[in-house]
Symmetry: D2
Subunit: 439 residues, 4 copies
C-alpha cells in the first residue's frame, strides 16, 4: 500500500494550482450559511463532470430540519447575487431558498459506506483590506462586503473537490460506497442536522471530516485530538410584551426589556454542572423602539455548551425554563427557537490510530495527540448518527501556517497544505473501503 500513499500525495500535489484556484474562487465569492448558492453550484457542476451521482437541493437537506435559516428575502437576494456572480442557473435553481447542500455518491459494489464531510459557508466578517492581508494583496478579497471565509471552509471545499478527483481515479479499487457531503451552514452549527435528518448518514460505517488548523511554530501537518469539543445549543429567544407610552399609563404595558434583562442575568447564573465543563452566553440583545415607549419586543441570541450532550441538554432545558419564567414575571410571552445545535464531538480511537498510521506512512508530520479542542462543531451531528448505528467517526486538523486568529478579518492560511489534506482524506477512504474485508 505504501506506493499508493506516495502516488496519492504526488497526484494531489500536482493539483495544487487547481486547489488554489478553487479556494480563491470560493474565497472571492464568499457566501454565508444557507446562502451558498454559487459555491454549491460550482461543487455540483464539478462532481457531475467527474461522474459522481449528484444530489442537490431538497434531496440533500430535510427542509424543516434546517436551523437558523435567514429570512426568505435574504435567501432570495443570495440567489440573485449568485446568478450575477456566474452560478450555473440549473444548479442554482435547486439551491434556491436555502437548499445549498450537495452530495456526490460513488457506488463501488458491496462494502462499507464511507462519508466525507466538507463545509462551505463563510462568516459575517468584513474582510481586511490591509496590504499585508494576502487575499487583498493578491486580488481575491471577498467581493461580498461583510461576508468572509475567515474559518477556512473555502479550503475545505477545495479539498473536497480534489479528494473527489483522487477517489474517482481509483474507483476500480474501491469497495462499497463513498459519499462526499458538501454541507451548508456549519457556522452556528445549523446545517449538519438537516442532512442527518434526511437520512444520508443512516447507512454510513464511517464519517470523516477535516478542518484547517494553525500549526503555530511547529511543523505539524495533521493534528489529532483525543478529547471532545463542547456540545452546544444555540437559542434565539424573543420576548413579546405590550407597548404603551412610558409616561401616560405605564401599568398598561408589558415590558419585554425587563423580562429580557431578568433572563440575561438568570441565564448567566445557570449552575455549574457535576457532569463536566459548561459555558453560557447571551451574546446579543435588541430591544425596544423608542426611549419613551414601554418595550414590547426583545430578541436575544444565546448559547449554552456542555462537556457532554447530556450536560448541554440540561442547560438548554434550564434555559428554556428561565426564559418562560422571565416572560411570565412581566406578563410577556416568549418564543424560543433552536438556531443551531451540536453534540460533543470526538474521534473514535481506531480511526485516530488509522489516521496517525496513514499520515505517517504518507510522510505527513503528526505532533503528539492533543487532549482538547474547545470549539464546537456541527460535524458532531453526523458523528453521533453514524456512531449510533455502530459506525465510527474521525475529525482531524489539516495544519498549516495561519495569519490572524480564526474568525478575524485578517485570517488567512498557507494553501500549500491543501494537497496533503486532500490526499490524506482520500487515503483514509481507500483504506476504509477495504476495512470489512481486512478486519
Amino acid at each position: 500500500m505504501h506506493g499508493d500513499y506516495e502516488a496519492l500525495r504526488r497526484e494531489a500535489r500536482a493539483m495544487e494550482a487547481q486547489l488554489r484556484q478553487w479556494r480563491r474562487d470560493f474565497h472571492t465569492y464568499a457566501e454565508p450559511g444557507w446562502c451558498e448558492v454559487r459555491t454549491a453550484s460550482r461543487v455540483a457542476g464539478e462532481l457531475t463532470r467527474l461522474g459522481y451521482e449528484v444530489l442537490t437541493g431538497r434531496d440533500v437537506c430535510l427542509a424543516e430540519a434546517r436551523m437558523g435559516l435567514p429570512p426568505a428575502e435574504v435567501l432570495e437576494a443570495a440567489y440573485g447575487r449568485a446568478l450575477e456572480q456566474g452560478a450555473d442557473p440549473q444548479f442554482a435553481a435547486a439551491a434556491r431558498g436555502g437548499f445549498t447542500g450537495v452530495i456526490g455518491v460513488l457506488r463501488c459494489g458491496p462494502g462499507p459506506v464511507t462519508a466525507l464531510r466538507f463545509d462551505m459557508d463563510a462568516l459575517g466578517v468584513r474582510e481586511s483590506e490591509a496590504p499585508d492581508h494576502r487575499p487583498a494583496a493578491e486580488g481575491f478579497r471577498s467581493v461580498n462586503e461583510g461576508v468572509m471565509h475567515a474559518c477556512g471552509h473555502d479550503g475545505h471545499t477545495a479539498m473536497g473537490l480534489a479528494a473527489a478527483r483522487l477517489l474517482m481515479r481509483r474507483r476500480d479499487r474501491l469497495r462499497g460506497t463513498v459519499k462526499l457531503i458538501f454541507q451548508p451552514a456549519e457556522e452556528g452549527v445549523r446545517g449538519a442536522a438537516a442532512i442527518v435528518a434526511a437520512g444520508h448518514l443512516d447507512d454510513a460505517d464511517y464519517v470523516l471530516a477535516t478542518h484547517m488548523g494553525d500549526r503555530g511554530t511547529g511543523n505539524g501537518q495533521v493534528g489529532l485530538t483525543t478529547g471532545t469539543t463542547l456540545a452546544t445549543a444555540k437559542l434565539d429567544i424573543a420576548f413579546t410584551g405590550r407597548a404603551v407610552h412610558a409616561a401616560m399609563a405605564p401599568e398598561q404595558g408589558a415590558n419585554a426589556l425587563l423580562a429580557a434583562a431578568a433572563a440575561v442575568l438568570a441565564l448567566h447564573g445557570l449552575p455549574r454542572h457535576s457532569g463536566g465543563d459548561t459555558r453560557v452566553n447571551v451574546g446579543t440583545l435588541r430591544a425596544g423602539t423608542g426611549r419613551n415607549v414601554v418595550c414590547d419586543r426583545a430578541v436575544l441570541e444565546a448559547e449554552v455548551r456542555g462537556a457532554t450532550t447530556a450536560v448541554c441538554d440540561d442547560l438548554e432545558q434550564a434555559a428554556r425554563r428561565i426564559v418562560q419564567g422571565a416572560a411570565e414575571m412581566e406578563g410577556c410571552t416568549c418564543d424560543v427557537v433552536r438556531a443551531g445545535a451540536a453534540g460533543a464531538l470526538f474521534s473514535d480511537a481506531p480511526l485516530l490510530a488509522l489516521c496517525r498510521e496513514t499520515a505517517e506512512a504518507m510522510g505527513l508530520c503528526v505532533p503528539p495527540t492533543g487532549t482538547t479542542d474547545s470549539a464546537s462543531e456541527d460535524f458532531a451531528a453526523m458523528a453521533d448518527r453514524v456512531r449510533s448505528r455502530g459506525g465510527q467517526a474521525l475529525y482531524f486538523r489539516t495544519l498549516t501556517a495561519c495569519s490572524g486568529p480564526f474568525h478575524s478579518a485578517a485570517f488567512d492560511f498557507d494553501e500549500s497544505a491543501l494537497p496533503d489534506g486532500a490526499a490524506l482524506l482520500a487515503a483514509l477512504a481507500l483504506r476504509l473501503s477495504h476495512s470489512l474485508v481486512a478486519e
Copy 2:
C-alpha cells in the same frame, strides 16, 4: 344640645385619672397583634360590668379571615403570659388562639347603627429605658420585652372604655344601636377584615374611629383630613427550591435565593400607575441555611400601596405574577399569603362637617383640614363595608403633644387629650343616633 356637649366634656375630664390608669395598664402589659389576650379580657370585663352585651372570641372574628396570624406556639405563649399577668381566666379562654376581638353592643330600640372602632395591639419595638422617657421614669414601661405601645393604641383602648361609660349613662337618650368594636391586629393591617367578614359592620350606618396624632407646635386637639391614605396589601412570599451541596452537583438544586433575588428586583420595578401614587417595598428577606448549600427556602415580606384600592389591586396582581414567574425561572415553587390589607381610607364629607361642628361646639380646637395622610389604616376595611351599604365613615386624629416619632422606642403622648377624644366620640355617637330623625 350645647349643654350636653359641656356635660360630656366635663364628665370625661372627671374620668382622666381612670383613663390614665387604663392606658398605663395596657401600656405596661403591651401585647402584639392577635395576642391581646390580657387587654381583651380587661376590656370585656369592663364592658360587661357596664352592662353592655359583650361579644368575644370566635363571635367577633371570622377565623379564616384573620390575616398575618402568628404561629400557634406564639399564640399559646401569649395566652399563658396573659394569665400570669392577671387576665380574667374566663375571658382569656375565649381569646385564646388568636381570637382577641371584643365588641360591646348597646341596643336602644329602632334607629341608626353607629359603630366605634378602637384598636388594641402593640408593636414589636423594644421600649426606651431612657430616664426622660415618661413610661420608664414613671414605672409603666412595657414589661413584655420587645413589645411596646409605640402607636398610641393603649390610648385608643382607654378612650373606648371611657366612651362606653359616657354612652351607657345616656342610654335613655340614644336611639338605634351603638357598637363599640375593640379590634386586634391593626398593625400590619391584619385584623379589621376578620371583623368585617363576620358581618359586624353589615348593619352599620356609621362607623367612626380616632387615632392619636402629634399636634406639633400647634394647639389643635382634633385633626381632620379630606384626602385619602394609600390602600395597601401586605404579602408574605415564600420560595421553595431544592437544597444540594453547592460544589458537588449544583445543577441538581433549585435555587430559591436566585428566584427571590430576581423577584426583589422585579417587584421594585413594578411600573408607576396612571391611577395615582404607588409604593412598593420588599422589607425583609431570609434565605438559606449554609454557605455551601444551594438555598432551598427564601421568605420575603413585601408590601404594595396605591392611591386607590384599584391601583393597589393592580400592583398586587402584578406582584403575584412576578413571584410566580421568578419561581418558575429557577424551578422553585412559590407561596403567597396576604398578611394584611387595607383599602384607601377617607372620611365622608358630611361626617367631616359634623365632626368639625361638634368639636367646635365642645370648645375643641380644630386646625384647617389637611389634604393627605400618608399612613395606611386597617379601619379602611370597615369604612368600605359601611359605605358599600350606603353608610358613612369618619376617621379623625386626637391631637396631643407627642415625644418621639410614632413607632419609635421613645414614643409617648400627653394623656390629657384622652378625655376630650372620648367625649368627642361619645358626642358624635349621640348626634348620629338621632340622625335618621333629624335629617
Copy 3:
C-alpha cells in the same frame, strides 16, 4: 380693541390657503430634529421677505448646548437632501451641521420683549399610506421615508409664518420687541436649551407657545391647563466592556450586557418619591455583535420624569449612580450623555387669564381649564429662563379635530384651526406689547 380682534381673525382666515400650502409643504418634506435644513431655509426666506431681522445658523443655537445631535454623516445627508428638495442654498449653508434654528426679530422701540416659540421637527415614524389618511389621499404624504410630521409641528411652523405676517402689518402699533423663535429638535426635548443657552430669552418679558391638540368630540378651539407637565431627562447610556470568545476564556471578557441588564432592572427599581409623581423607562437596548462573543458594548436609551424639576434631578442623579455601579460590577466603563431635558412646564396665571379673555373676545371657544397635561415639553426651558428673570410664560393648545393618536402613523389634523391659532398668538403679542403701559 375688539375691532382689532375681529380684524386679526378675519385676516388670518384670509390666509387659510397659504397656511395650508405651507403646512403641506413642511409635511411633505418632513425633517427630523437638527436636520430641519429645508424647513429652516423656507422659514428664514419668508421672514426675510417680510422684513424681519433674521438670525440663522450659529447665531441661534449655542453649538455645545445642542442635545441629542445625530452623527455628522446624518447631518450631512440631511443637508444634501434639503438642497435636492429645493432649499435655498444660502440659508441651507447656515443650517448645515445641525444649526437649524431661525429667529425673526421685530424691534419697535422701547417696551416689553415678547417671544413666540414654534417648533419645526418631525418624528421617526413611517407615515401611513392608507387611502383614508388625508396626506396620502391628497398627495402630501412625507417623501422622506420613515420621517413624518406626526405631532403637528408642521402646523406650528405654518402658524408662525402667519403670525409673522399679521404682526408685521401691525408694526406701527407694537411697542418693544417681538421675537419669533423657530426651534429645532423639540422631540426628545433637545433643542430649546441651545437657544436659551445662546441668550435669546434673557431679555424676554413673555414667552408664548402653542401646540396642536385634539378637541375630541367637543367644540373647543383653545385648550388651557393650570397644572404642570412632568419634568424629564433623557439619558443615553453606553456600557463598554471587553469582547472575548464566549467559550474559550470567558473570564477574560468584561460583559457589557450583564452590566446593562443589571442597570435596566435597577433603573426601573428607582424608588417612588415623596415630592410627587415619577416615571422611569429604559426604552431601548442594543447590545453585542455575536452569539458566541462576550458582549463588549451595550447602549441604552432611558428617561426619567418627575413632578418637579427637583424630583426629576433626584432621579437622574440616582440613575447615574446606578449605571456607574452596574458598570463597575462587570468591570466595564459607562458613559452617560443627556440626550434631552425639560423642566416641568406650566403657564403663569395672569397669562392664562389674558389668553382666556382674549380668545373669548375673539369668539374662540375655550373649554374649562384642565388640570394636567402629561406630556413633557421642551418649551419648559424657555419658560423657566423667562420666569427666572421675572417674566411670564404661556403654553396653550390650538384644538382641532385629529385623526389617529399623536405620534402615530395615522395622525392628521383639521387645518381649519390654523388661522385661529395664528390670530390668537398675534393678538396676545399685541396685547403684551402694551402691557408695561397698560398695567
Copy 4:
C-alpha cells in the same frame, strides 16, 4: 522494616478500645470551630502526659490570621461550657477566646521535619435521635444540641492521639522532628491559615493528613487520589444602606436589599473559566427589619471555588468587584470579609507512592487511585506552605463503612478503621524520618 509494620498495626489494634473511648468522648462533647476548648484541653493533657513538647493557645495560631471567628460572647460561652464539661482549667485558659490549636513536638536530633495534621471541630448540625443511629443508641450522641461531629473529626483527633503514642514509643528510632498538629476550625476552611501564619510549617519537609472516607460496598481501607480538590474562598458580605419608612419618603433611603439582590444575581453569573472548573454559591442572605422599612442591612454568605488557586483568586477578585459595584448602584456601602480560604489540595506523587507501598506492606487494602475529590480542604494551606519550601504533602482517606452522608444528622462511621489509620500515619512518619538518609 516489615516487622515494624506488623508491630505498628498490632499495637494500634490493641489501642482500639482506647481509640473508641476517645472518639466517643469527643463526639459527646462536640465543639464547633474556634470553640474546641474541651477537646483541645484533652489533647494537650494527653500529649503532655506522653512527653511531647506541647504548644497551646497563642503559640499555635497567629491571632489576626484566624478566619471566620465567632463573636466574643460565643467564644466565652464555649469556654464556660468546656469548664462545666470537665476541661482541664489550665489548658482551657490557654484556649479561651478562640485559641484552640494544640501542637505536640517530638525532637529526635537532626533529620527531616514531618508534620501530621488532625482537625478537631464539629459542625452546626443537630444530631439524629433515631434509634438506629449508633451514637444515640449507645449513649454518645452530642450533648451540645445543634453541634455534631458529622464529618469524622472526632475520629481524626482520636487517631492523632493514638499516633502520638505509637511514635513516642519509637522515639529512639526516629530522626529529625515530628509535629502533631491538632487544628481548630477546619470546617469553613478557617483554621489552617492561622497555624501556617504562625510559622509552624516553615521548617516542615513533609506534611500528612488523613480524613475518614466511606468505603462504600468495597473493601478499601485507604483511599488515594491523584487529582486536586477545588480551591475555595468564603466571603462574608454585608451591605449597609439607610432605613426610611417605605411609604413616606422612600427616595431618602438606600436600599441594601436591592444591592444584595443585584449582587446575588451577578455573583452567580460570574463567568466560567478557561483555567478549569469553578463553583459559585451565595448560600444565605439575611436582610431587613420590617416590611414597611427600606432595608438598611443585608448580609450574605458566599463562596467561590476554582480548579486552581489562581482560578479561585480570579473569581474572588471579580466577586469583590461585583459587590462593590452593587453597593454603589444603590448608594450603599459594602464590607467583605474572608471567612475562610483553602487552596486546591493535591498529594505529591512520591508520597502517594510511598503511602500505597506502605499500606500494602501493612496489609491494608488500597483500591485503584481516584482522580478527583470534590471537597475543599483547609489542609491545602499547610500543603502549599510546605511545598513552597521544597517539601511534599500527602492527603489520604481512611476508609470505613459509613452510615448517612457526611454532614448529615445520621452520619456515623465504623470505628474499627481507627487503629489502621493511626498505624499507617505512624508508619509513614517513621519512614519519612529516615528519608533524607535513605534517598
